[in-house]
């Protein structure tokens, strides 16, 4: 359906073996109430300084809007590939939930989970909320000031 999805399928296949030392993490979020179309969102991992590591989840399939989520898109551009799961964009007031694999080495090592969100003809929000990628964050709802109102990571 989409070149990116095809690329995603290939990269997932390539990286699957290295997930042996990984943990399944459930990420669930609640969207803010806003006026406008369904929001695009990107959930990704950075180090403490904000340097992009990898993508966990992209909501929204039309790649022409990815550029708007600037912080994340630049990170993807530096890494040169989009790894992670792609799903649908999420509308106002809706919730979403996705399971991702995160390497054990990234947990409790000072990394962060960040969320960028954008709406067509609307605002663009970067890194809100931001959650420490640590066991201690598990199950806690972190509030954000963008289109994603709250995000919970269950490890």
């Amino acid at each position: 359906m989409n070149k990116l999805l095809a690329a995603l399928a290939v990269t997932t296949a390539l990286f699957a073996p290295s997930l042996a030392m990984a943990k399944t993490v459930n990420i669930s979020g609640q969207m803010a109430n806003y006026q406008g179309q369904a929001a695009y969102l990107a959930i990704y991992v950075t180090d403490a300084a904000g340097t992009f590591q990898r993508t966990l989840y992209v909501g929204g399939t039309n790649a022409r809007y990815y550029r708007d989520m600037r912080a994340w898109a630049r990170g993807v551009a530096t890494v040169g590939r989009l790894d992670g799961i792609t799903g649908a964009s999420v509308g106002s007031g809706r919730s979403f939930s996705v399971s991702v694999e995160i390497a054990d080495a990234l947990i409790d090592a000072g990394y962060q989970i960040r969320v960028d969100s954008a709406v067509e003809n609307g605002q663009v929000f970067a890194a809100t909320p931001t959650i420490p990628l640590a066991q201690s964050s598990s199950g806690q709802a972190f509030t954000g000031s963008g289109y994603v109102a709250a995000l919970t990571v269950a490890m």
Binding site: G36, Q37, N121, Q123
Partner: protein, 739 residues
């Protein structure tokens, strides 16, 4: 085939296509409102000016966007992290209002794109675009064939009022519909990744960023060099991050601007795919060309009207198909009926012939001409019933007939051709003539020469049937009324007799509804009984004990509250003798048949009415309704002013009240100055030429010979102007109602 495709897609997708058209029409207004809201006159303003102004007025600007319609929007973030968006005046940077991405048009945009059903809805929207495209293309093919070729594409539409509505709207809107459909389909394909849009999802961050102290925005060279008109989007660097850059998107491409040096880093020009996408986006939405948006929106509004009229046409046509009882197999039949029809009217006659032959004990196989077999082993007689389409072409159910005939292996059957048509068209029964010649060339043997039926005349069909019965040795009784109407009972209120002294007994009959009615207004009462009608429409009369109606032109409209007709007594004419025998208080069974092709054109241009004898009926009706005193000229021919001057006093009154501008009469049985109406046309050549050069319309009503004479006279009179009757007819300026 195109007709079935057109019908199938219309039935399957019309609701969806209408939904998309209506939501699209709502959205089409958006570019115009946006453009009106955008401030104008700022050729010299640069991106640097606007960016600096916005930054100094609104604090932390995240980005500035210029819509295709020229509105400039600044997205800002306050210190506490709350976001806001303003439309700004590019000259001052001042906010002209807050900008909200939601709202009315955003709701309709999403409804139009996905019906709020996500990807499933987007697929449905794409299918609607495909359906509209197929409907438009197949419709154009049908229209071109119907009108007799591309040359006639803008010729006068004919047929029932809904058919003309459908055709006229199609000609107005089809280009817009196709544009919307093609561009919509393309955008759907882009959404689902089948076609690229040339966009770059992940722009690589530029190398060689200076990282030094930011310079004031007004001094950044790359921004100063970009006129506001070219701006699409300017994304500001993250505040406090000296390593970050401005991202500048213009109509030419995307690049980065160093906030310290003002240099343009890594400019990526728009790809061809991206330019194509932008052009198609503009063509679909009208964003950037508001007038185009309104044109497309207007075209879209015609879609629901066309859907309703189209389905009504389809339904009527379908109802016109007869159910054939005892239709034998082709191999077993001793009589074969082949039907060529465009609008199904011929089917009714074929059904009557089928029933008549079956009743006479024949085994009958009836099919379309396209269904011609390679042999009919037992056929003794083959009947070919065909109409002629457009400019002498095959009607839709006969389009493959001549091609199929080349594969014929069945020897030399006996056959006859019955052609249906309208004598007032130049290529009357042309296709039937062609078919007869082709069959003879193939070795078929005519057992009866070709006969033509003018305008579905039941009488002519009956006559043909008795001839055929004799020729085939079958006792054949053919009864077919083109349409079995529901009749109303009318009562004769009064009659005026003329013409007995000159062997042309003629009577003007005034009929009123027979059934009691609670309605007080006479017009309402007659509409309740028989429906609405106007002068020039026909009233069908069923004489007692017959099922074949005779038609008479109406001299009145339903608003007059009466049915008024003018009947000449025909020797041996069942209906005219019946009508002539009526006394006030007697009743008749009647119904109205619309005749929408014989009406004065709208407007104030002069009307030239020409007729003879009872042909005056609709003409006097037109004059009677001429309350706005439009110039109307009447040329009428009778026998003797003392005897058959129909409506004489009425016409004089109409001249006094300025409804009739000029009356010219010709009488053929007077001692001095006997003349026919066409003679008066020739004598009045100068007046007629002046009127025609002012755009006048000619309407002729009466017998066939008179009409032919008038046509020749008008042809002569108009020759110096370089106008011929054919051209006038094609433009709807020469109408005939001939009997």
């Amino acid at each position: 085939m195109f007709r079935s495709i057109h019908a199938a897609f219309a039935l399957a997708a019309s609701v969806l296509v209408c939904f998309m058209a209506v939501t699209g029409a709502v959205l089409s207004v958006n570019p115009a409102t946006e453009t009106a809201a955008a401030a104008g006159g700022r050729a010299s303003v640069t991106v640097a000016d606007v960016a600096a102004m916005a930054a100094s007025t609104h604090g932390e600007v995240e980005r500035i966007v210029q819509t295709a319609s020229g509105r400039v929007i600044a997205y800002t973030t306050a210190a506490d992290g709350t976001a806001a968006a303003y439309t700004i005046d590019p000259a001052t940077g001042a906010a002209t209002g807050s900008y909200n991405s939601g709202g009315f048009f955003s709701f309709f945009a999403e409804l139009h794109r996905s019906l709020f059903l996500g990807d499933g809805g987007r697929i449905v929207a794409g299918l609607a675009a495909a359906a509209l495209l197929i409907l438009s293309l197949s419709g154009v093919v049908i229209l071109v064939r119907r009108l007799g070729g591309w040359r006639h594409l803008f010729g006068l539409a004919r047929g029932s009022s809904r058919q003309r509505l459908h055709v006229n709207l199609a000609r107005l809107a089809v280009v817009g519909m196709m544009l919307s459909a093609i561009t919509g389909l393309y955008m759907s394909l882009v959404t689902f990744g089948f076609v690229g849009d040339g966009s770059i999802a992940f722009l690589p961050f530029p190398a060689g960023v200076d990282g030094g102290m930011p310079t004031a925005i007004t001094n950044l060279a790359a921004l100063r060099d970009t006129p506001l008109a070219a701006l699409r989007e300017l994304v500001f660097p993250y505040p406090g991050d000296t390593g970050d850059v401005f991202t500048l998107t213009t109509s030419a491409g995307v690049g980065f601007v160093d906030q310290a040096t003002g240099a343009l880093l890594d400019f990526i020009p728009s790809s061809l795919g991206q330019r194509l996408y932008e052009a198609i986006y503009l063509l679909h939405t009208g964003e950037g060309a508001w007038w185009l948006g309104l044109v497309l929106g207007t075209a879209a509004l015609m879609v629901p009207v066309m859907a309703v009229s189209g389905i009504a046409i389809w339904w009527r046509r379908r109802r016109g198909q007869p159910r054939l009882r005892n239709n034998s197999r082709a191999a077993a039949a001793d009589a074969v009926i082949l039907v060529g029809t465009e609008g199904n009217s011929t089917w009714g006659f074929a059904g009557a012939l089928h029933a008549g032959l079956t009743a006479a004990g024949r085994k009958v196989h009836t099919t379309t001409m396209n269904g011609l077999a390679t042999t009919y082993p037992r056929a003794e007689h083959v009947f070919v019933l065909t109409s002629t389409h457009g400019d002498g072409a095959a009607p839709s159910t006969a389009r493959q007939f001549l091609a199929r005939l080349t594969h014929w292996k069945g020897g030399s059957p006996r056959f006859t051709v019955l052609g249906f048509g309208d004598r007032s068209f130049p290529k009357f029964s042309q296709y039937a003539i062609e078919v007869e010649a082709a069959l003879e060339a193939k070795g078929w043997v005519p057992f009866e020469a070709m006969t033509t039926i003018d305008r579905q005349s039941s009488q002519a069909f009956e006559r043909w049937g008795s001839g055929i019965g004799k020729a085939t040795g079958t006792s054949l009784e053919l009864v077919h009324a083109a349409e079995q109407p529901r009749t109303a009972r009318l009562v004769l209120e009064g009659r005026v007799d003329y013409g007995a002294e000159v062997q042309a007994p003629t009577v003007v009959l005034r009929l009123v509804p027979g059934a009691p009615s609670r309605k007080r207004i006479p017009g309402r009462r007659i509409e309740g009984a028989i429906g609405r009608f106007e002068p020039g429409d026909l009233v069908g009369i069923l004489p007692p004990g017959t099922s074949v109606p005779r038609y008479y032109s109406l001299a009145s409209s339903s608003a007059d509250g009466i049915v008024e007709i003018c009947v000449r007594k025909q020797p041996g004419g069942v209906c005219s003798e019946f009508l002539h025998g009526l006394e006030p208080g007697d009743t008749v069974n009647a119904f109205v048949k619309r005749n929408p092709d014989f009406r004065p054109a709208r407007g104030r241009k002069p009307i030239i009415l020409i007729g003879a004898g009872t042909g005056i009926a609709p003409l006097v009706g037109f004059i009677g309704g001429n309350l706005r005193h439009r110039p109307m000229y009447l040329y009428w021919g009778g026998r003797d002013p003392q005897s058959d001057f129909l409506y004489g006093p009425t016409l004089a009154e109409m001249q006094r009240s300025s409804r009739l501008t000029r009356l010219v009469t010709a009488f053929s049985r007077v001692v001095d100055g006997r003349a026919y109406v066409q003679d008066r046309v020739r004598e009045d050549a100068a007046v007629l030429r002046t009127l025609m050069s002012r755009g006048a319309q000619i309407m002729v009503c009466g017998g066939r010979d008179m009409a032919a004479g008038v046509r020749a006279a008008v042809e002569e009179v108009m020759a110096p102007l370089g106008i011929d009757v054919g051209t006038l007819k094609a433009g709807g300026r020469y109408l005939e109602d001939i009997y």
